[in-house]
């Protein structure tokens, strides 16, 4: 990871939340796709098994694993490229199935690992190191999840350790799909050309002497804590600003339409609304819907997993007489 990357802060919160929730590491499965974000499971919860799968397809692998061992706690990390572009279909359908997992999106608006192309969540008007000004609407992954009836939807910021820890702890406890979209700035590629501390600005105007392959060091953004219902302007490493708003305590987390309205309204005002947007603990999970037996399927022995010889004789016989 580049020094100061938001993803590192999230890794720390994951460790913290797992610990605070008293999860034994062997009960956790770390899942990810491909990207800087998806590399992070190498750096947290080293005593848990994990699977760094292929780009955009983490949800399906998690689904298969969940089916055969539903007792694991699936903590998954993805990027905005991994989820909103190549992985859109699997994201949507894992939500629709209410797969029991925590789905963390480490959202930086760019493809970090491939050196800074825009992702589909980047804001309109952004003009970054690579390419022209983005003129397309960003895809808001929380709005997407809400609209699909996702059973737990939250947004946070990599620098909001307290809020993020609380949300993550709740997500881990939640039975069903918990989507947390975490704004997590890429210090290396997601900086605005125009802002006065950006890579290019510095390169042109200050003393950076090299043209390729130099990653500046930034300190991670320190703790950001915004009381419910309030908002705050946060200055990022490159001097650009984002406005974070913590959703008010009067927000009804059981009402999809009002959550959607809040998200769209914040967007219109160039803010990012954070906090728990929607929650419903009553929706059956995939394994419940399918009516699986109680023991994890991977633990079944010969008798439990394979029908008896008598049953096959009976099956053959039935065909003969039909």
């Amino acid at each position: 990871m580049c020094p100061g990357c938001g993803h590192d802060q999230i890794s720390n919160v994951i460790i913290q939340a797992a610990w605070e929730n008293g999860l034994p590491p062997e009960g956790i499965a770390k899942m990810s796709g491909i990207g800087c974000s998806s590399k992070t499971p190498a750096y947290f919860l080293g005593k848990s098994h994990g699977f760094n799968t292929v780009h955009g397809r983490m949800p399906s692998v998690t689904t298969g694993a969940n089916m055969v061992n539903k007792d694991l706690t699936f903590i998954a990390v993805s990027g905005d490229g991994d989820t909103a572009s190549i992985g859109m279909g699997q994201f949507v359908h894992a939500i629709r199935r209410n797969l029991n997992m925590v789905y963390i999106i480490e959202n930086n608006g760019v493809y970090g690992l491939t050196k800074g192309q825009y992702s589909a969540t980047v804001e309109k008007g952004s003009k970054k190191k690579k390419g022209a000004v983005n003129t397309q609407n960003p895809i808001d992954l929380c709005a997407m999840a809400l609209n699909l009836g996702c059973s737990f939807v939250a947004r946070s910021f990599s620098g909001s350790k307290k809020q993020l820890t609380a949300l993550l702890r709740a997500a881990i406890s939640h039975k069903g799909m918990a989507v947390i979209d975490v704004i997590s700035p890429c210090v290396t590629f997601a900086n605005n050309d125009e802002s006065y501390r950006s890579y290019n600005y510095v390169k042109e105007n200050d003393e950076v002497l090299h043209i390729v392959d130099y990653i500046s060091h930034y300190s991670p953004i320190e703790e950001v804590d915004i009381p419910e219902g309030q908002f705050k302007e946060i200055e990022l490493f490159d001097g650009s600003k984002i406005i974070l708003e913590t959703i008010g305590s009067n927000h009804d987390t059981t009402d999809v339409v009002s959550a959607l309205t809040a998200v769209h309204e914040a967007e219109r005002n160039d803010k990012h609304v954070t906090g728990l947007l929607y929650y419903n603990g009553e929706i059956p999970t995939t394994t419940e819907t399918l009516g699986l037996t109680n023991a994890p399927l991977c633990s079944l022995n010969e008798e439990e997993g394979r029908p008896s010889e008598e049953s096959l004789i009976e099956v053959n016989q039935r065909f003969r007489s039909s």
């Binding site: 590491p25 699977f51 799968t53 399906s60 055969v68 699986l292 079944l300």
Partner: protein, 594 residues
Amino acid sequence: MDSNVNNFVINIATANGTGSQSSNLVILHTMFEMGIPVSGKNLFPSNISGLPTWFIIRASEAGYQAPGDKTDIQIVMNKDTWEKDITNLESGTIIIFNEDAKLPVDRDDCFAFGMPMTKMARKINPKMAKLMANMYYVGGLAHILGIDSNDILKAVKSQFKGKEKAIEMNMQAINEGIAYASENWDIKSDFKAESRPKDSDTFLIEGNEATALGTIYGGINMLSWYPITPSSSVAEGIIKWLPELRTAKDGGTTCAVIQAEDELAAAGMVLGAGWAGGRGMTCTSGPGISLMSEFIGLSYFAEVPGVIWDVNRVGPSTGLPTRTQQGDLSMLYEASHGDTQHIVLIPGNVDECFEFGWKAFDLAERYQTMVFGFSDLDLGMNRWPTKGFKYPESEMDRGKLIRNQQELDAVPNYGRYRDVDGDGIPYRTLPGSGIDPILYRGTGHDEDGVYSEDPIVYQKTMKRLKKKIDGARDNLPSPILREEENKELGIIFYGSMENSITEIDDILESKGFSVSTCRIRALPYHSELESFISRHDISVVLEMNRDGQLYGILRKELPTQLLKKLHSVAYSDGMPPRARLYSEKIISVLEELK
């Protein structure tokens, strides 16, 4: 064959969606229950309603199951193909047609018999006339072939189990058909259906349902699938049998079934299940395999067990979705970018569909890799005889799976990817166990599973993988050999070509060739294949595709000195292989060699 008793081919031309399939199955099952060696092929369109369908029924005392190269009795019901169906017939063919179509039958050289099927059906039930009309050709046929109405009744009863009204009405139509034919048709045909003592063990079943049962007995824990012809009925078979066969004591099921959003997701779920220690599988056809390629490579490199059952249809691209081919073989064997190699099991009959259905899981766990079942539409969606499926001879093989600390301690110098035993196969532990956790990945990794870009580490891993899969050769189903004394000509073939091989063999023998056969049942190929080729003067690889895909694989891999003995006969037009056509192609290759 000289006699026309139990030796004939019936072709029934209808449109799909008109319900003719019921009538066709009544004919097939009637003859089957009479003990006549019979086979049926359904040539249906890729469309739900209205397009032409042909059903071919072949009776053959010799037990030939290929569709036959000519038609003896043609039934024409479909106005759209009426003319073509009739003009293409050889002289002397018997034609049964629905008079109510009001279309001409201009073949003086054939024997044409009409019946006002729709009009007659309307009398039984005006609303259902179009549908019922089909039962009248059953009657007409019964008359011509001398089939007893009571034999038909048995088949109708079992088909419409318990539905008395349906049984009654259908039998009324059939009997009226018989009566009409005997009164109005002046027939001098010697095609006859004669009862034979029937092996009471034998029954007919579609390959896909056999596969479905096989996987259930193989302990499948997760089926992920995306509908695609001709593989859907594998999934539907599993779904049908699970409640009865795989419900646990607590009432829950021991196999999760997920209709995935697409084939990429279906493959990903298989990997997820395998990684977590379960037996996961998906079934698909060519387009699905193309879409699964990336995941197949991940399975190979990260060594995650899984099963993909490919029921081949005609490619490339969407191709002919309801026709048969062996066109995916070379792709399966080396699917995905980079250097890869996969285990492929190739059933040739419904017994093997069942057997390889369960065995695939054992092999996948033993070799910690993706194992393919390779069937095709002909084998998968038509009905074939079996004497009953055999229970697996041994317990499930979970391979080198470490479940607890003791087992781990027993492995000296454990590392997820370390070749402790020298066979290229490492040990593995499961998530949830807390034992020696690693982060699985599709990127380079060392023997302990740690990320590595080291050239030597990479190269050694790849070498080990090669050794691992190569080592599987002789543990896979061995070829089925049938050899003649003089080792003149060997035919190497696979899969549903099995259904035509006896007839091909007989045709070739009748032309004076002495023919041995070798049916390949898996890739990478078994060492017995090499000795088969060595022993024979000439070997021909016979397959249903354009490019000679198995031939190509063998040319790549066989010792060079054997190649001069090896020749290719590859042909595919979507139809199940007609023995005469393929025999002729073999002969012309042999003649070129002279």
